[in-house]
Symmetry: C2
DNA sequence: TTACAATGCGTAAATTCTACGCAATAATCT
DNA sequence: AGATTATTGCGTAGAATTTACGCATTGTAA
């Protein structure tokens, strides 16, 4: 929604195209060079940051909706996207009053005041997804109602996000850390060919702890999760590291066998 | 809903009390003596079995709704109940036609035909929960629209459940098997004091594989997850096994430390 | 050429996992 | 009462894995 007209149409006719009472919120994790960041946006007139989100089209599957919303925010398609929990307990989601206020300051930008029984004012549960991207590749073009956006290191996220979005991010992070042992997370955050230091740094960053470089390599190689190539990369004034690539066949086979990563 | 009147009220006024487009389905796993079963119900006029489920009250949190629905089906409260995924992709959920047919044969029992735009005919996403109970303790009292119910061994579940319920059960099972290493699952399925053979058999059943009795004991004891008591239980013509209890403090501490079970 | 910083590869010790052996126990059978 | 039987409690040797490093190699810059 990039124009005033689109927003107005959404407010007045959105309920015909989208399911009410239900939204999708995306914790978009951006990784680059030892930093793990999250994309936050600030809607017009609001003090606090929020996660990017959207509604589910009536003729769209849930997965399609999640990918569409993610693409609308990042301009990227085919990203790694994973549902992790549905939120419907928070007092801020049950308590209608606060919701109306925050929504109304936002929609005042298009001159609309939402009545308490407007579909955007009603109680809404949120399905949480997390996505992984290289945030340098992402071009964020804020929508009409979004005043500002930022990539924040996960350690620096303010405690006062909108609604229960702090809880959503925390759960997303926990899930990501659990999934890193069971899914080729790196496959979605690294170029097709990457160096060992690169993937090593990725794991250290996501898990927030030091991992011995040499044992890390041994494990990934022994399990057959990555494959060493004949090429090397030139990096500054140091020894050229070899390039590696994921062996996805072996990856899924290892998972079926029950052999699981751990560090 | 145990009377014709309650059902009629639900059909005609349910949309005022419940959120549309969204339901909760419960995979209720019942364990007893080396058997893992699931509670299935069959609605009036329907050929296939389905999972017990229900809708979310407008003034109820999601968790409250899940517990209420579970209690309505099992007459038990305070059970272990865990959300695991939200389903919104299945063709049977998108395709309105099939939904109407199955619903209508059910509601014909109270002489109602649902129109295509009735709230019960609309597209509905489902939030999946799984619960753990000792199925011998459960008193199932089928609701008015439920013709039949059964406890089926998870291995014997028919391939043609209603909607995407096969998929839901499979995902519930996978989640349960993953969670058994990270949560005191046994705490919710065993009496406060239990014997080693009892908890051993529970793990073997859920994981569908043999676990060495002696190593199993060693591991649980070493990690401090269970505590041996001074009491023993009299069992038939054999040596009396000691009783054990869970050490929940140690359990959560072990989890934080990252020490995780595995067999 | 030398110094330096980073990578690739190996090895020994510590720890954990796995596969059993076997004694102890509580009935039941003779 | 003593032998029998099925089951539980506990221990130990060997295999396998994890952990903690040592050190040579490499590409560039001084």
């Amino acid at each position: 929604m990039n124009t005033r007209e689109e927003v107005l149409d959404f407010v007045h006719h959105g309920a015909e195209r989208f399911l009410p009472h239900l939204s999708i919120d995306c914790a978009i994790f951006g990784y680059h060079d030892h930093d793990l960041k999250t994309l936050l946006i600030r809607h017009h007139g609001q003090e606090n940051w929020s996660l990017p989100g959207g509604y589910i089209g009536r003729h769209e599957t849930l997965t399609e909706a999640a990918h569409r919303i993610l693409a609308e925010k990042t301009q990227l398609t085919g990203l790694f996207l994973q549902q992790f929990y549905t939120f419907g307990d928070s007092a801020t989601r049950m308590n209608r009053i606060k919701t109306e206020q925050t929504h109304n300051t936002t929609y005042s930008k298009v001159g609309v005041t939402l009545s308490p029984d407007h579909w955007l004012s009603e109680r809404t549960l949120s399905i949480g997804y997390y996505a992984l991207v290289d945030y340098l590749q992402v071009v964020v073009t804020p929508e009409f109602l979004v005043d500002d956006y930022c990539w924040l290191n996960v350690a620096d996220i303010p405690r006062e996000l909108v609604y229960d979005h702090n809880e959503i991010i925390q759960k997303a992070l926990l899930t990501l850390r659990a999934h890193i042992f069971q899914q080729p997370i790196g496959y979605n955050l690294l170029p097709d060919k990457f160096t060992l230091p690169e993937i090593h740094s990725l794991y250290e960053t996501i898990l927030c702890k030091q991992i011995d470089r040499r044992n890390f390599r041994k494990k990934l190689l022994t399990l057959g999760l990555i494959r060493q190539l004949d090429e090397q990369r030139k990096i500054g004034p140091h020894r050229s590291p070899f390039l590696y690539e994921f062996d996805l066949d072996n990856y899924s086979r290892a998972l079926e066998d029950g052999s699981i990563l751990s560090f």
